[in-house]
Amino acid sequence: MNGWTGTIVRVDLAAGTVKKESLPAELARKFIGGRGLASKILCDEVDPTIDPLSPKNKLIFSTGPLNGTYAPSASHYNVVAKGPLTGTIAASSSGGMFGPMLKYAGYDAIIFEGKAKKPVYLWIKDDEIELRSAEDLWGRNTVETTEEIRLATDDEASVACIGPGGERLVLFANVMNECNRAAGRSGVGAVMGSKNLKAVAVRGTGAVRVSDNEAFRSASQRASTKIREHAVGGKGLRTYGTDVLVNILNEIGGLPTRNFRESQFPGADKVGGESLTARILTRPRGCFSCIISCGRATRIKNPKFGGMGEGPEYETAWAFGPDCGIDDLEAITKANYLCNEAGMDTITMGSTIACAMDLFENGIITTKDTDGVALNFGDAEAMVEMVRKTAEGEGFGKKLALGSYRLAESYGHPEYSMSVKKQEMPAYDPRAVQGIGLNFATSNRGACHVRGYTIAPEVLGNPEKVDNMTTDGKAKLDIIFQDLTAALDSTGACLFATFGIGGDDLAELLSCATGVSYSTEDFMKAGERIWNLERIFNLKAGFSARDDTLPDRILKDQVLKGPAKGQVNRLGDMLPEYYSLRGWDASGVPTKEKLQELGL
């Protein structure tokens, strides 16, 4: 095969055995790779009603056909399982080196089944694959684990691992690779921890081949040129990182502040990309094959919050910053470093602390609950302390480790959790940006911006500006973005490549790489197929239209001031049209005809 390697690794952790299987060509064609292929395998092999942290869950690392090539910014692999935070299907993607390295070793995906009796890690050196003891690594953070495994194997190995967060089953634990790259959101790291699997380390010395070299070369060059010439993809992201969005969202009154009580933050400028660049940036960093370089190598010299690593990204800066009422960039960055080291999702961590601050200021919890720490909005030291407590499994940190929904519910006030399907909404206020609200409500892994990033048209004007306050046409817009993203996540490309290229370019790259001809329509249809597949998994897991909603604060409480003053999210105006355009019935269930059309 070209593009694909044609081989999948299956690891039975309970038995300690490894076997290699071939990738069926028809499966590859229909579900492409990455998120699509792994979701298909999960749906075929896992009962959607299981406890996500039981040995019956499976954990799948999956690459795409473009991984390992020089298609611009195409290094993303996916980690797929039933997610413990949401109970939905979870697919988390990450860039860096891991995906390409797995391809060079000769594999498209790894399926982990069961639970190891004792902590282990998987070491792959080309054809040789072995499970090794990780008992000495248990308890180590992600940076230490990466270093130790490289010492024991190969200094150029790519290591994807969990930290103490995943080991302690923090429900929003990440899988981290190359220390700073996160398969975040939805808690795939906790699934890894539940399996006693500490890490997957890979060194591949082989090749990735494409079907038509000359066509692939020119398609890549055309795609690169489009991204380089794009204002965001070519310049904005490298200069300021994703954190450039702080001031942009604040200006339109869409920057959720103090647990979504408000939608503008007076200290925004202090935590935005411009300040980050001026104060803590060492240099821009790129994932493997990336021409965008949005990564931020940063360093904090102030010993109070000292450290180094990467970040913060926009959503991270928002979660630990404005959402907690905090304008201290050094504290935000420290919280980011702690999360990377522990392997925890920064969006859920920050939002859960914001939720706790809201509960505290409303007298629902007191210092008796919080180990004596006064949790007021704006208290940077308290925020960093809460991250540390969560990472170390100490006192109130054990409650924070459950995410905001379970935290607020345990005190009888789930309405304080700004989440959908128990996953926290990221940094965009759906009252100021209507379409993203519909996307949060319908996303297959709970509230999430990277399932259908309508912020691009609604706020950034890419590929063209759409009114952020209207609900007209948003159902259609959301569907296009959701399907495109599902297909894109399956190729190995990074979502940011869409700041320059679209479905047509991706379909062409995919065709030249694999030799399977994908038209733009085929490509979008694959995305729709994957979206419906995920939806069916969630319906079987017990979700229904009732869960496609937003917190009351977003649907009922008007924004008090700023450009979005008086607004709520008008989800009810968009959702019926969304179901109808999706070919689903009024209760959000895909019709037989639709499933037949998609070959599901």
Partner: protein, 160 residues
């Protein structure tokens, strides 16, 4: 006039695109392992350094080559080689202080930068201009300019 491959590690983001372009151009496949240029990265410090053959004037690989397979090629500003003369003894690998030349038995060949015959693919693809193919006497021009700009800023602050 002589040209050289100039490397600016301070601009490198660690994307490895140079390795991909190199292996795809020479071998028709994406295989960083046999790229003629190699990027070493330190993720926590956020630092990356590309290394490759520096095309020595007085090249140890040429000096130790027992068959004259490796030779100076001043016309193309490089150290070149003749596959036919190579006996696969790997003396060049032992002698090179930069680790820039290896022999691959599987394909019976020397793997070393040939500057793509004057139009290096790695330079063309580098998204941040961390690599440049430039007149050797102009190679430090950008650094001189960068220092001058810093000095100018400081001077203007003091003078104003």
């Amino acid at each position: 006039m002589a040209k050289m491959l100039m490397i600016y590690p301070d601009r490198c983001t660690g994307c490895h695109d140079c390795e991909l372009a190199c292996s795809f151009f020479h071998d028709g496949e994406f295989r960083p392992h046999t790229s003629r240029i190699h990027v070493s990265s330190w993720e926590m410090e956020g630092f990356s350094m590309p290394t490759t053959c520096v095309q020595c004037e007085d090249a140890p690989c040429v000096a130790v080559c027992p068959t004259g397979a490796l030779y100076n090629d001043p016309g193309n500003s490089r150290v070149a080689w003749d596959e036919v003369k190579c006996i696969g003894c790997r003396m060049c690998t032992l002698a090179c202080p930069f680790g820039a030349v290896v022999f691959e038995t599987g394909k019976r060949r020397i793997i070393k930068c040939d500057l793509c015959d004057g139009s290096p693919e790695c330079v063309k693809i580098c998204p941040t201009c961390a690599l440049d193919y430039i007149e050797e006497t102009d190679a430090a021009k950008a650094r001189k300019k960068a220092i001058a700009i810093e000095f100018k800023k400081a001077f203007e602050e003091v003078a104003s």
